[in-house]
Amino acid sequence: MARIRTVDLTKTFTDASGGVTALDALNLTVQDGEFFALLGPSGCGKTTLLRTLAGLETPTSGAVHIGDADVTHTAPGKRGVAMVFQDYALFPHMTVTENIAYPLRVRGVSKAEQRQAVLAAASELGLTGTDTTVGLLDRRPGALSGGQQQRVALARATAANPTVFLFDEPLSNLDARLRLEARTFLKRLQRELATTTVFVTHDQAEALALADRIAVMQSGRIRQLGTPREVFRRPANTFVASFIGSTPMNLLEGTVRDGRVLVADSEIALPDGTAGAVADGAPVVLGARPEYFRVSSDPLPGAFGGTVAVAENLGSSLLLTLDVAGTAVQAVVGEEEEPEPGARLWALPRQDRTLLYADGELVG
């Protein structure tokens, strides 16, 4: 079991067009046993960070510590780290058993011990026992489903008995239905093993669901570090605010006047705890998640009044896009509502859930 710490970790790639900073003096601590997500759009440096922790990339400067040891210049195989890649990287010419035993075979462990470890890892991952998996251990990866392949890759990683797991986009090679199943499975597995785990994802829902803590990254920097609840409730800046959430947050430009925000020809109450924090007349961005609106067909004071431009059915709810004086405002209503396009509605954001951003950073 081990804690991971990076100190001023920097990685620049040089190519014909000059240098690209993938990691910019990154300081990060992942606690022992934590399930930690690196979240961000492609090119934000999250995969580079993971590969640097693994030892597959050498940092330009800075250091990586795992446990008590400085492993910055330690070979990947000597860090006690196991990595599962997005494509699982199973060896196609080996059976499932041989794949799982591979880390032990490389270390020269005896055949008997290998077999024992394979059975232990395979049963931990649910690869033995049930009807559907009879004979699975003797098959080759090509004869397995995507979900089974993932479990074999995880079994192989656990057989290595690492102090740290690294997962690169662990769920993105699975189809949508299987993905939810695998997500639950992965979270339970990590709880049971209690091994420090860092994973990379571009899917905010995955990060929110799995992780104990999330680092949201952009351009080689961490823009926010916190629990899923913190990151979802109070995004520290407009970048995180726009990135987190299945339905993107409304980020509306306006100005502050007399304890209110003037935005899209509407006067909206300042979010809780921001009164007096911003000078009158200052340009701000009001953040309001579509889920936190009260929508009514009667006029509401301090609400956005607009016409329904688009109504999208989300199953148990409906996502409305309102045209409020030329500005699009999205709000979610219950499935019982069925507003017609063109209908006039009022949408009142919950004052305890709205957020105020000045210069891109959260106020209050």
Partner: protein, 302 residues
């Protein structure tokens, strides 16, 4: 509708009809007949005669049955030549070109672009130069008195071609043919999934284990195809003649031996018989490789 139409379309995709298609293919077929099939059959016939390049038997060859073949098979000179050819193929192609080509491809895989291109260009140059030019260059390189090699190695007065003819032609053929293996393996290595290599590394596999467990299983087909091609090319290679001449029996590999027998000694019938034996050996070698390749494919689908 589509089901009934497609087999006919497959039979005659161009829509020419049998007669016109045959007419279009005929000139090419005639060339093949005249320059490939006829000489092959002629060789087969010659091998059963005492046909000579000059003299009485050149005008009036008569059949000797299988005498040529029994004579060749019993001839120690033929055995010697066959053994030299084996040395030449294994030494220069299977070990030399294939190993060196793979080593260069493997080491250059992560090299900087300019270095990679430079080395590839140099190696390729050895391959694309005409063999007469190359033979002349090597003669100049290895010359006893004025040779560049002797000057560099401080071995003035050593006649390499005379003193170590087999070593010279083996090194020469490695130098000349490595480019092909290198190119083939470079292409093959790009098909090895980087995540599998990284996974092996993460589990602590050393270079040899990475090669054994990840790289070789992935490029097995390429290795076999490469070995098949370069063994056959080297087996039939006549270029060493330009370096060593034909008279030195210490470096008389089969193609040179045939040339010497048929054209120099003028025993056309005997030469044709050896050529046919050589063809049979070629076939056996090819069949073994193809068999190995097919096993591989069967394993994959199983």
């Amino acid at each position: 509708m589509a089901r009934t139409a497609s087999p006919r379309a497959a039979e005659d995709p161009a829509g020419l009809g049998r007669a016109r298609a045959a007419g279009i293919a005929a000139p090419a077929l005639l060339v093949v007949l005249a320059f490939l099939v006829f000489p092959a059959l002629w060789t087969l016939y010659l091998g059963t005669t005492n046909y000579r390049l000059t003299g009485f038997a050149a005008r009036h060859p008569h059949s000797v049955g299988l005498d040529n073949y029994t004579n060749v098979v019993k001839d120690p000179a033929f055995h010697h030549s066959l053994w030299l050819t084996f040395e030449y193929v294994v030494g220069s192609a299977v070990l030399g070109q294939a190993l060196l080509g793979f080593a260069i491809a493997w080491l250059l895989r992560e090299a900087a672009g300019w270095l990679k291109r430079l080395i590839e260009a140099l190696v390729l140059l050895a391959w694309i130069l005409p063999s007469s030019v190359v033979a002349f260059l090597w003669s100049a390189l290895l010359d006893r008195d004025q040779g560049t090699f002797n000057a560099l190695a401080h071995t003035q007065g050593t006649a390499w071609v005379v003193e170590h003819p087999m070593a010279v032609i083996i090194v020469f053929n490695i130098w000349r043919g490595t480019a092909f293996s290198m190119l083939l393996y470079s292409a093959a290595l790009t098909g090895v999934p980087p995540t599998q290599l990284a996974t092996a590394r993460m589990f602590g596999a050393n270079q040899w284990q990475q090669l054994r467990d990840v790289v070789f299983p992935h490029i097995r087909g390429h290795i076999l195809t490469n070995l098949l091609l370069i063994s056959l090319w080297t087996f039939n290679d006549f270029t060493p003649y330009q370096l060593t001449g034909g008279a030195d029996t210490r470096s008389q590999i089969l193609p040179v031996y045939i040339y010497q027998t048929a054209l120099f000694d003028g025993q056309m019938g005997l030469g044709a018989a050896i050529a046919l034996l050589m063809l049979v050996i070629n076939l056996v070698v090819a069949l073994v490789y193809l068999r190995l390749l097919r096993e591989r494919r069967g394993e994959r689908t199983a």
